[in-house]
């Protein structure tokens, strides 16, 4: 009999990195199905290319850097799928591939791999594509009509669509972000499996609505248009790049909402979600620093020792 000698604890929660990433993939399925239904075959192609190139890119960079291959943790697949769902269905496949490779190699791999990237890889890649090939990223397709001419998105033409259309997704936009019921289904799954907590999605969506309304936009319209809801559920909640504490997450969500509203009102782009989240990703370390929990037995974080009361 050979007994193991590993230290306590001797049991472990069933949650593993891989299981959490798989939960995210499962939660993305409704969005993917809705995207294929609305935009057809090109959506499938983009998702496949994006996921495969993200996984391949991760394998390559880990090989080059001499790291242990970690593609089994599924984080690259999540990045690839999220990026694809963030693209216009009319995006050429090679643009999606370039984005995926940029995400896993430059944003993630070169900064140390999973856990060490300070930007959300999918969002940073989207920003990269937006700068390099703006035309492809802002050419939209009308839903449910494979070859229809591009229409203006609700952000460019706010009066053109009803709330019902905005909610159901019968509007031009990115593959995964238009159909709100599918996103909400994903959110319920993520909450039910305790993959994420409710704070960031709820606060970010609400703050976006409030700040946009304060700047003259419609409260509900601004929450339902563009990628707000999709980003609030799947991207702002990225563990690596969001603050740890609930207090910090509220600050972070409020910051994202404010920046979205500012970009939409004053910025060059009609959207603003991508840059808003990226900017708050950068602010995360400092938010974490100022929202640390008080340690038991100390009066506050300045390490004064607690007075004995009673």
């Amino acid at each position: 009999m050979k007994l193991h000698l590993s230290p306590a604890p001797h049991v472990h929660s069933p949650q593993t990195t891989r299981a959490l990433m798989l939960n995210v993939l499962v939660a993305l399925i409704p969005c993917a199905i809705a995207g294929v239904y609305l935009f057809g075959f090109s959506a499938i192609l983009l998702m496949l290319v994006s996921v495969l190139s993200a996984v391949a890119g991760e394998a390559i960079i880990q090989k080059i850097l001499g790291q242990k291959s970690r593609i089994n943790d599924m984080s690259a697949a999540v990045t690839g799928l999220i990026l694809a769902l963030n693209l216009s269905p009319r995006t050429p496949w090679w643009v999606a591939m370039a984005g995926s490779l940029f995400a896993v190699i430059v944003v993630k791999g070169l900064f140390g791999g999973l856990g060490d990237n300070f930007l959300n890889p999918a969002l940073a890649a989207r920003a990269f594509l937006l700068v390099c090939w703006p035309r492809y990223l802002t050419t939209w397709a009308a839903p449910l009509a494979a070859d229809a001419v591009a229409g203006a998105t609700p952000l460019a033409n706010p009066a053109g669509y009803t709330l019902g259309q905005l909610f159901l997704g019968n509007i031009p936009g990115s593959i995964g972000e238009v159909c709100k019921p599918a996103i909400l289904l994903g959110l319920v799954y993520l909450l039910f499996t305790k993959t994420i907590t409710w704070q960031i999605p709820v606060y970010m969506t609400a703050f976006t609505g409030v700040f946009c309304a304060l700047m003259g936009g419609g409260f509900v319209e601004s929450m339902l248009s563009g990628g707000v809801l999709f980003a609030a559920v799947f991207m702002a909640t990225d563990y690596v790049t969001c603050p740890m504490s609930t207090k910090g997450q509220i600050v972070y969500a409020a910051g994202i909402g404010l920046i979205i509203a500012l970009i939409r009102k004053f910025g060059l782009y009609p959207e603003g979600v991508t840059f808003a989240i990226l900017l708050m990703n950068v602010a995360t370390p400092i938010i974490d620093r100022f929202t640390k929990r008080r340690v038991y037995g100390y009066e506050d974080n300045k390490k004064k020792e607690a007075k004995a009361n009673g």
């Binding site: 009999m1 604890p9 929660s13 943790d73 740890m244 340690v295 100390y298």
Partner: protein, 449 residues
Amino acid sequence: MSSNNTFRGGVHPLHGAHEGKSPTRGQAVIDYTAETVTIMMGMHLGAPSTPTVQVGDHVKLGQQIADPVGFLGLPVHASVSGEVIAVGPVQSVMNPAAMAVTIKNDFKDEWVDTLEPLGDVETCDPTKIVPAIKAAGVCGQGGASFPTHVKFAVKEGQYCDTIIVNGAECETHLTCDHRLMLEQSKRIVDGLRAAMRALDVKKGVIAIEDNKPDAIEAMRKAAEGRDGVEIMPLMTKYPQGGEKQLIQVVTGREVPTKKLPLDVHVIVLNVSTAKSIADAVIEGKPLITRITTVTGHVVRPCNFRVRVGTMVDELIAECGGYSIPEDQVGKVVMGGAMTGFPCPNTTHIPIAKANGGVVVYSEEESKDYDEDPCIRCGRCVEACPIGLNPYKLKYFCDAGDMKRAGEWCVMDCVVCGSCSYICPAHRRLTSSFKAMKDKIAAEARKGKG
């Protein structure tokens, strides 16, 4: 009878499986008397005691066989009557050469009459209570084995206004305290009353997790009509029975960093410790038995009342042996899953005063995971009952950076295991903090000496 009394953070290990307690919670305690016992000299925190018997000596039950050493020292007593057959080092769970006295049982159970019974806890002389506790070799039986009489050493300017009896039993698998509360409820209350009278404390609280409604009921009944004793149900959550958490929940006070419970006027005693205090005061009996839960992959999981020094392998055999093929046994752990110590390559190890359980794990349950990179998910931060940042602290500890680990409060870590339990990347957080704490403590001792 569910309760909302709790602290912030914590985890729910084995929650779907009733914390692993279901096989033994209904098992009444059965006596097990070993043919030989191997009584270790270092069963308490503090310097090991010095044996006062030699091979060939005949000892009676309860006879003192070792003298205390130093401020944290405790005497040790024979847990069987019979002949001393060995005095020397044996393998213990932590120490490959722990000094011990081995006694062959003559099964006569002749009591020695050196300790004076004080009688009824409500009427006995309160000044004699703490000396009686020390003479009986009572140490904390919840895990840390702190000598109990030292907890009662109130210094100039200090006072105690609340004594908490810890019946939370938040560790997984163990039901020894649960059974004790059901079967010896009155003795526990007696022990608490003795402790209260020794220090003239007016308030005693017996705190029990709400997954033991029958124990809460039994203790309520036993406490009826007793001065200042109340029962407090607690939410079932690990580490509810941690000393700092318990004080926070019961009194609303926090033990300041580097201080002891007495600095916030509280003393915490495990239920088994309270019972030992009662035995010492009422009957003059030293601490020579304890209840141990033997569970996991054994044929018949049981709660035993064993003589201190009984071997683990004997108890496993008494449970009908392993319920899985022997080559499938992965780990035998002394204690619960969150803080227990694994037996080193043998189960021929004696039970000490603070061993509440033996749990057998299969090979499948014991497999080691590789550490994956931290994904900053924040689960460890949420789970830490102390409010530390385990994910960050680990970088400093792994790098051996004692200064920054100290700044990030590693010494306040209670080593409960919650962060390691919850980490999806299987990072061994707790053990790296434990190693750093030991290193800093060793460094501090070096500085002094």
